[in-house]
Structures are given as C-alpha cells and as structure tokens.
C-alpha cells in the first residue's frame, strides 16, 4: 500500500531544496531570456529585429529546448539516489517507515515539480511579455509548447533517476548522464539519417517515423512541429511522417510512456 504522505514528504524536501538554492530561479531566468531573445532577435541575421510569428518563435525554441532541457534534467537528477548512497544518507532514509517505491517516486516528483516550475515560469514570463502580440490560437500553440517542454523534462528526468539507481558512484552517474544526452540529442538522429542515406532510402524508409518514437527528444520535436502548419511544411515532415502517428494525444501518451518506463526499470533495480 503506497502512502502518499511519505511521497509528499520526500518530494517536498527535494522541491524546497531547489527553491532554496535558487536552482529554480536560475533556470527560469535562463528560459525566459532565451525565449525573449529568440522571439525578438531570432531574425537578426536576416536584418530583421522584432517579433515575427509564434510559429517561427516556437520552431526556433524547439531547436534550442531540445538540447537544453534534456541536459538540465539529466544534471538535475543524475545523483538523486547515488548521491544519497555515496553520502551515506540513503541508509538513514531507508530505515524510516518508507518503501523504496515511495522514496523513488518522492524524489522524482519533487525534482519534476522544480523543473516544471522553472519551465512554466521561464517560458510563461516570456509568454506574458509577448502576450499583446498573440491571438488565442497562438497562445494555445505556445501553451502546448510549454506543456511539451515540461513532458520532455520529465522524460529525461526519469532517465536520470534510472541512471542514478544503476550507477555505483556519482562520477559514473555523471558520465552515464552525459552519454545519455549525447546519444539521444546528438547521435540518435545522425544514426537514423546515416542508415537512411547509406541504404539510399530503400530500407527502413517506412519504419523511420516509428524509430523516431524511440527517442523522447524526437517525439518532442515531432509533437511541436506537427502542431504548426507552416513549420510542418517548412520541415517537410508531412511527406515522411504518417498521419496516424501525428496525433498530439498519441505523441503525448508516448512521452508519458517514456516517463513511466525508465522509472519502472529504476524501481525494479532499486528494490533488489
């Protein structure tokens, strides 16, 4: 029987720690600054300054966020268990009337709350600054972008928690976290593209969109790009991505699976 009180106590501590050490504030400021700079100066290279459209802004933000949020989430969570184990405080926690599942969920939810607050506050502030130039439709798209950014953060946080459970020390965990970021954010797409090009597109072309679902960063990209008509055409995604996979609801569920799966593996390992 799961006791919510134990989960909320652990989550509350994790969240308050990040508020207290100004982590939430720092990340929110970074997000707000990036969003505003991209919104108003994103076209400076083309000699234009000022807000253009929410679609172009979101497309630019997606390109940035896809690097930044996974990195932040992995840094936030890589030592959540292994750090406690290395300091010796994990044993003290586990002698409390708390199960390992409650501890893991509490840690994860507390960090998720901190990352969510940073993301919503940072991009939300930027949204407020742009509000007078956004109509209801644009606001909805921008809100969708914020929500998907939160989900992206939570998927990589889930991976970070899994790494933290498997790692034997903090140094190893940090290495694994960097490797995970490198693989999902930089290498995965290159491998897929390389395979496509090497085979001249004869093999795997139809499987390609499904393989993208194996990377939460790609799911996030597809989720945002597909919700923006202009950008979809710009990226040429409509030609390669099957319609049945293009539902935001389905892509959202896939991101949720990307949250649940690593956490489940982490729990399986942690209880042993």
């Amino acid at each position: 029987m799961i006791e919510l009180r134990q989960i909320s106590t652990i989550a509350g501590k994790e969240f308050r720690d990040r508020i207290r050490n100004r982590w939430v504030l720092a990340i929110a400021v970074v997000f707000a600054a990036f969003a505003l700079v991209i919104a108003y100066f994103g076209a400076a290279q083309q000699g234009t300054v000022g807000f253009r459209s929410i679609e172009i802004t979101i497309a630019s933000l997606v390109s940035l966020v896809i690097y930044l949020i996974p990195l932040i989430a992995l840094i936030l969570g890589f030592d959540v268990i292994v750090g406690e184990r290395e300091r010796g405080s994990l044993d003290l926690l586990l002698t409390m009337p708390i199960t390992r599942l409650e501890l893991l969920l509490g840690k994860y939810l507390g960090l998720s709350a901190a990352l969510t607050l940073s993301t919503v506050a940072g991009f939300g502030l930027a949204g407020i600054a742009m509000a007078n130039q956004l109509d209801a439709n644009a606001l909805m798209h921008y809100s969708g972008f914020i929500l998907s950014s939160v989900l992206l953060g939570m998927t990589f946080l889930s991976l970070a928690v899994m790494i933290s459970v498997f790692a034997t020390d903090r140094a190893g965990a940090s290495g694994l976290a960097i490797a995970t970021w490198f693989f999902f954010v930089l290498v995965f797409d290159l491998l897929l593209l390389g395979a496509l090009v090497a085979t001249g597109g004869h093999y795997g072309g139809q499987v390609f969109p499904y393989l993208l679902l194996l990377n939460p960063a790609d799911v996030f990209r597809v989720l945002n790009i597909f919700s923006l008509e202009d950008v979809r055409t710009l990226y040429g995604m409509a030609t390669v991505f099957p319609e049945e996979l293009a539902s935001p609801g389905l892509l959202g569920v896939i991101m949720l699976l990307w949250i649940v799966a690593p956490l489940s593996v982490a729990f399986w390992r942690f209880k042993r």
Partner: protein
C-alpha cells in the same frame, strides 16, 4: 522467560565468497541494553543492517517484535525503531530543527516534539543553524535526537559516542539509562569497550561473521577464566606477600610503581584476600582488578 524482541535464526549474508555473517543465532530480550562488539570486518555492521532491513539475509530469518524484517508489515515496526548509524550523514543545507521535522514527518511522529528533542540532546541553542555549521559532536547529538524521534521502543546505536566529548558521553549514557528504565531495548556497538562494560546487560562478541560468545560481562569473564590482579600498596615486600599467599595458586608477583601486582586465578580471590588481611598494618592499600571487557575480548580472540 524474558520477552524476546529480536530473534535471528541461522542468519547468513554472503558477498560473493565472503561470509560477512555466517549462521548467526541471536535472541535479544525486550528492555535490555545489548552490546555487539568485534574487530573491524567481524560482521557487526552487516548484522546491524540486516536487523534494520537494509540488507536481506542470504539465508535465515530475522524477526523483530514478531514481524519478519523483510515482510510487508515491517513498516509499522519501523515507526518504533530508532537508528544512529556509525557514519552519520545528514543534510547540510537544513537546520537542525528542519532535519528533525523532515524525519519526524517520515516517521509520522509529532513534529511539535522536535524542539524538545533538540533540548534533550543539548542542541536547543543551535536549532536554527544549518547542519553544515555543526561540529562532529553536534552532528552526533543531532543524529541521536533523530534516533529518538517517535518515542522508539527499539534503538540501534552504531558507535554512538563517536565524536562526543567526555561530558557528552556521560550525558548520552544518562539518557540511555532513562530510556532503559522506560523499557526501551537498545543494541549498541562500540570500539571503546570501557564505555560499555559497566553499562550493557549482555553482549555478543563477533568474529569472522559468527557470534563467538554471548552473555553478561561477568558470564563472559567466567567463560574465559582470566586471572585477576590484586594491587597492594604499603610497606610489604614481594617475599612477604608470597609467604602470606603460600599454598594458593599464585601466577606471578611483580613490583610496579612502588606497588605489588599479584596475579592469580579468579577462584583464589577470596582465600587470597583472607590471607592478606592477616598481614596487618604493613599493607595500607588493596585493589582488586577484575579482568576488563577488553581483557575478555582479547582473551576470547586468543
């Protein structure tokens, strides 16, 4: 028969080829102060961790208050267990009071008692200071306050006097005496055997993962049958003492620092004292030195 609160039956824990704990049977009675001693690597910490449910036994079973430590219902038992680890790691970013609040919530203990808990261990003045500013002794006191949260009925204390000054050690044992009078069961380990020899009801000596001996300090003394020492002061010579103790199995008589040290088997104590009393005013002082726990420990090790 005394009420048994901890029962260990053929408990073993192996790490690969290493048998950290090897077939240990252990009964600890409710309300007793039980010592667990042994060399580094003897298996004390592993046995402690298994009793706390932090490690699963490779074989055998441990039950506390009738519940298996690996069972689902052990959560309720945990609420009445306090634990002070040897290497205490607390959260440096929290204050002493916040630390207790956090653990009190986890233990479903009354958070309003946290201030009183800090007062009890002499940390009321530092309640709102961050733990990172605490000295080692203060951290140890805070760890003890943490262990006492929720009025535990069972306390596990692993090297509890680490980092404490002599005054704090005395206060610590005074608190333990108070808890013992309330019927709290305590299991403690210590490398400072002199600290515990007069305080524990019973103790177990571990060696190579096994319990080598278990019983009261006096019972262990009798098991080992180590010689005792009569320390004599005054104007008596070794030959006079040897003459007085003629017929008794005296092991040795040595002169040390103007005193005579007479070593003899424990069963010769009373006859020897009776004979020495006949020496009159020449003998001005007499101490009987029973084998210490340390002597017993090393005697058993041999």
């Amino acid at each position: 028969m005394a009420n048994i609160i901890i029962e260990g039956r053929v408990v073993s824990r192996h790490f690969g080829a290493i048998r950290a704990v090897d077939g240990v049977d252990l009964d600890i009675r409710a309300g007793e102060l039980f010592g667990l001693i042994g060399h580094n690597g003897a298996g004390k910490s592993t046995l402690f961790k298994m009793m706390l449910g932090l490690l699963s036994p490779t074989s055998g079973e441990i039950r506390i208050a009738g519940e298996s430590v690996s069972g689902r219902n052990f959560r309720n038992v945990r609420r009445k267990i306090g634990y002070l680890p040897e290497n205490l790691a607390l959260y440096d970013n929290l204050t002493g009071l916040e630390t207790l609040h956090f653990f009190a919530r986890l233990k479903a203990a009354d958070v309003r008692q946290c201030v009183a808990g800090l007062e009890r261990v002499g940390l009321a003045h530092a309640a709102n200071r961050r733990v990172r500013e605490y000295s080692k002794g203060m951290r140890q006191r805070l760890g003890f306050a943490h262990a006492l949260l929720g009025e535990p009925r069972l306390l596990f204390l692993d090297e509890p006097t680490n980092g404490l000054d002599p005054e704090a050690i005395r206060e610590f044992f005074a608190i333990l005496r108070g808890l013992q009078s309330e019927g709290v069961t305590m299991i403690l380990t210590s490398h400072i055997l002199a600290d515990i020899q007069e305080r524990v009801d019973r103790l177990a000596i571990m060696k190579n993962g096994k319990i080598q001996s278990c019983g009261s300090v006096q019972a262990l003394r009798e098991t080992v049958n180590l010689p005792l020492i009569l320390e004599i002061g005054g104007f008596v010579s070794a030959s006079q003492v040897a003459h007085a103790l003629d017929g008794l199995p005296v092991i040795s008589i040595e002169a040390r620092h103007d005193r005579l040290w007479v070593k003899l088997p424990p069963e010769a104590k009373m006859p020897a004292l009776a004979k020495l009393m006949t020496m009159g005013d020449a003998m001005q002082d007499l101490h009987v030195r029973e084998p210490s726990l340390e002597d017993v420990f090393f005697g058993l090790a041999e």
